[in-house]
Structure formats: structure tokens, C-alpha cells
Amino acid sequence: MPGDALPRHSLSRAAFREFCAGAADPATVIALIDAEYSRRRLLLRALADDDAAVGRRGVFGDPRPAWDVLATAESRAPDVVRQVILYPPVGVWLHRAVVAAIAGRDVTFADLNRMAAAAAIRSDVPCDLALPVQHGAVVLPTVGSLRLPGSFPAGFARLRHGTAGTVINALDGRLAVTIDPYRVAAGFRPSPIHTTTAAGVELSVWIDDTDPYREFDEARPPHESSSIELLEWRKLLDEAWDTLVHRHPRWAREIGAGVSVVTPAVHNRTSSGFSSAGAIGAIALPAGQSVLELAETLVHEFQHSKLNAVARLVDLVEDDTGGRFYAPWRPDPRPLSGMLHGIYAFVSVAEFWLAQADQVPPSPNGALLLAHRRRQVAWALESMAGSTGLTEAGDELVAAVRHRLRVCLSDPIPAEVTEVAERMVLDHYANWRLRNIRPDAEGIEALTHRWRRGMTAESPRPGLFQLRPRCSTGRSTREGLLRARLSGSGRRTTGTMATAFGADQAYADDDYDTALAGYLRADHDAGDAVVGAGLCLRGIGRQDVAHALLGRPEVVAALVARLGGGADPVAVGTWLAPVVAAGRVGAP
């Protein structure tokens, strides 16, 4: 096949525009998955190249036996091989293996053997392959998992598939298990698959609770759901799908075309949903979500999958190293590519709640979720304003998000709700600055000097990012109390101003004077005193001082610390207000 004749994937102009505008047509989603299929096959080629394979040792050191099985299976059942190679956790392994190969480390093809064995069983191709035993289990993607007696941290078994059926030998041949890939028996469980249909629109997903890479990071032990848990997942998926198809049909159609795996997350529980560029089409979900929350999460996470796929065909960012931006949903500064992910996913979530707005009865917290998401996206767009790292296509995506946001902003929401959303984002922003921006040391010294001599303040010098490992901040107490107040579930507490919670409770009750006194107590956390005081002063109407405290909390906190007992956050904020108020609340 001459090189010039090799076809290439493309994304049509119309498809890109449709992608920017929101839900994609299923045909576009399938085209994106086709491209991912090519990419994975090319990565497999990179790993299994004859030259690269020379000299590799060990049971899983040679990719050729598995490759030959896959090739034979493909000649018999190409759709099966496509499903196996595209199986989302396979992508996670591929990425890790490629990096190992680039680094010159030995690549283990254990996972390639798992793929080949799965394809052989499903296409009825004879094979004899070694398989990895991980945490006492042999896991075959899209087929099922065999739990061996005992608990093996690692090792290997042997799978033979042929006219005599499918047999897995383990324990140096002392254990032989004949499996039926479609029946639960002898420690084997077929991969749970769930298909649900509403109004003729289908969702069919594997519920993956065993693959080592199902949570997208390091290899994890299997965690088989109980039959009751699986029933619960099935019921939840049915109901969420019904909601999506009837209330959000365009989102439903793209999700039906693109989501293939749902993972009950057991190791990562700090968020309501996860996805990964390496595992396009998979969504990890902690248990315990409501139907609406699950529906929202499916929409949200699939936007990431879609954007990850598009970004491999279309350059959206020219330079992703030059900037770090404020993302109102994250504790850490983000590069441009991360900002694109955030605004694209969260404007979709805002649209989700906009479409829910006329539900009868209304969704609990639906108005707040809409108000919060649209405010976050607006702030993120402001944070990105002036950045020069986007390509023309990236600019077009941002412009489309801006347009979609305008529609969301046009929805009337009660003032009390929008005010709560505003308080939440201001709180988040101020805490983000405290966490991520280190004030300029010389600038703090200069301000200290001026304060002590009774001079007016000078404009604070820009700080520096202090990039920290990814950390989870969790929901602030204030945010939780505000949400509870709005939903009517808030309860008065007996907390006193001697506790941080007491100040937060007073703040959530709009008792700003009491809250301010609590935040300014000497035993209150210094950083939170600045943010809490800023929020209270905003409530009282002292906007200029509030602006200084919430817009430059890291400067105020550093000055208060430098001045010792000589000043409190309000005094310092009042002093800084004339030079900070004119500034823009944005990047450092």
C-alpha cells in the first residue's frame, strides 16, 4: 500500500462547529471513535514493532503470539477486535506501555495477551496464551473475570481456547478451570453489560468493576459488585437514561453513541465523576448519586471524552505552557487546555440545568446549580481573556461557549439564588489565591515599611504561583451552609463564636456583624479570617474593603502576619482598598 494512498481522518468544518455548539450528532461521535481506533492501532504498532520487540524477555516479553491471535480474530470478527482494542481501560495500559518503551524500560505485554485472549474467545479462534494473574484474578476485557482461589498479588495462568472449550490453567497446572464466557460458574463471571432503551434511543455499557485500569490510574485490584449492587446500578442507569432521553435528547444521542463503559469508582471517591483522555468513552462514578446527579455526570464527563477526541484531530492550543489560569471548579491553577475542558463541560452542565428549569416539581437545587455553573463559566472566561495561546479553532470554541453562556445567563433566577452563587465563587476565588499565590516578598516588605510610617499603600506587586501537588479542598463549610439554607434544610446550630463553624453559621444566616467578630478572633485561622472578613464586609456593603480582602487575600494575610499584632485584616484591607479597588479581580 503506497504511503500517499493512506487515508487520513478528518473532522469536517460542520462537525467542528456542531461540536463547539454542544451535543454532537452520533455520526460525528462515531467518526471521533474511528479516529481513536486508528490511534490505538498505531500505538500497538509502536509497541509491537519487530525492532522494538527484539531482546525482550519473560513470559510477557514477546508481543508476537498475542498479535497473531488478534490478527486471526480480526480476520474472522473485525467488530470484536475493534471493541476489544477500543475498550477504554486498554487505552490506559497503552499509554503507560508506550511511556515505558520510550524510557527504555522493558514493556510487559501481559495486557496485550489479555486483549488477544478476549478476542479469541469471542471470535472462537484457537489460542494458547499466558495471562497475568493480578490480585488473584484473571481479567479478560469485554469477556469477564476469573477469581482464583487464594489471593495472588501477581503471577500468570495459561488460557487455552479451542474445540475443547476455554480452559484456564493456574497454580503450575494444578488448577484447571473450564469457563463458559456467558455463564457465572467456577469463579468466572462474565463482564456485566447493561442495555437500556428509552423512546428508541439505546445506551449499552459494560459495568466494569474488575479491569486493573478501570479507574484510569495505577493498576487496581478487582472489586466485584454484589448482585444487589449491580441491580442498583442497572436501575439507576435506566432512570438516568430515561431522564436524558426525554429531557435532554441531544445529549442522550451523543452519549448513546460514545459511552461504552461505566465504572463504579471505589478508589477515587472525592468527586461525582471521572474520565480520562486515555480511556475515551469511559466514565467512573462513585456510588450514591441520585438519578439527576448521574444524568448530569454522564453529560459532564462525556464532554471531556469528546473534547479529548477532537483535540487529537484539531489543534486548539498553540502554547499550553505559558499560562496558568483561575478555574472556579478547581483548587489549582490550570493551563489553557484544562480551561477549555472546564468551560466546555460546565457550560454543558449549565445547559443541563437550564433544560431542567421548567420541570414540575422543580429539581432540588436546580436553580442554584444553574446559577453557580453559569457564574463559574463566566469567571473562567474572564480569567482566560487576553490569553494568546489558543489557535483559531480554539478561539472559535471559546466564542461558542461564550454564546452558549449568554443563553444560560438569560434565564431569570431569583436574586437570592444568584447571590448565593456569587458568594460561593467569591469564597472559592479568595481561597484559591491564598493557596496558590505567593506574595512578592520585597513587595510585602515595602508595604510593611509604608504601613509603619503611616504612609498610604502602594499597589501590591504581582505574586508568583506556588504550584502545589493536586489537592482536594472539599466543599467549604460556608458553601455547605449556604446550600443548606437555600434548600430549606439548614438548621440553626448551637455553635458559639469560639468556633470557626459558629462564624460560618452566622455568615450563612446573613448575620455579618457576628460573623465578622468571629472571624477576627485571635484564634481563628489567619487565612480564613481574611476571606471570612472580606465576605462579611461585602455583605455589610463595604465593597471597597471587601474587594481588597477577596481580591488580594494573600497580600493581606502576609501583611497581617508581618505586622504581628499591630493590625487585623479589616484594618489592612481598609488601608489597601484605594489601590486594590481599581484593579481587576483576576490573575495575580
Binding site: G3, R41, V314, E479
Partner: protein, 58 residues
């Protein structure tokens, strides 16, 4: 991407190329595509996990 026209990507379509051929073909365009695919892998091997922000708990 040009804003006025469709554009082919760097990504060669090998969805229909038999695996047996894919492993052995030394076509320069294919080898270039293999290199391009490798470049899509993050250097750490671990893709960033996109998650709903920590301030989103309901």
C-alpha cells in the same frame, strides 16, 4: 484548522488495515503516523483525570 474549510488531520486511518499488515508495513507515511500517535501520549504516561471540581458536591 482553517475556519473556512475541512481539514485532514495528521492521523492516518488504519481502521481497515489488517493487523497482520499493520505490524510489518514499513511505509514512511505509516511510520510517521506511528510517531504522531506516540506524541499524543502524555510524557508521564498518566493522562490527567478529568473530574467534576471539588466545589461541585451537591
Amino acid at each position: 484548522m482553517s475556519l473556512s474549510a475541512d481539514q485532514e488531520s495528521w492521523l492516518v486511518d488504519v481502521t481497515r488495515m489488517p493487523l497482520a499488515t499493520l505490524r510489518t508495513l514499513r511505509d514512511p507515511a505509516l511510520l510517521e503516523a506511528v510517531r504522531g500517535a506516540v506524541e499524543t501520549v502524555p510524557p508521564s504516561g498518566a493522562d490527567e483525570i478529568q473530574e467534576q471540581g471539588t466545589s461541585t458536591a451537591r
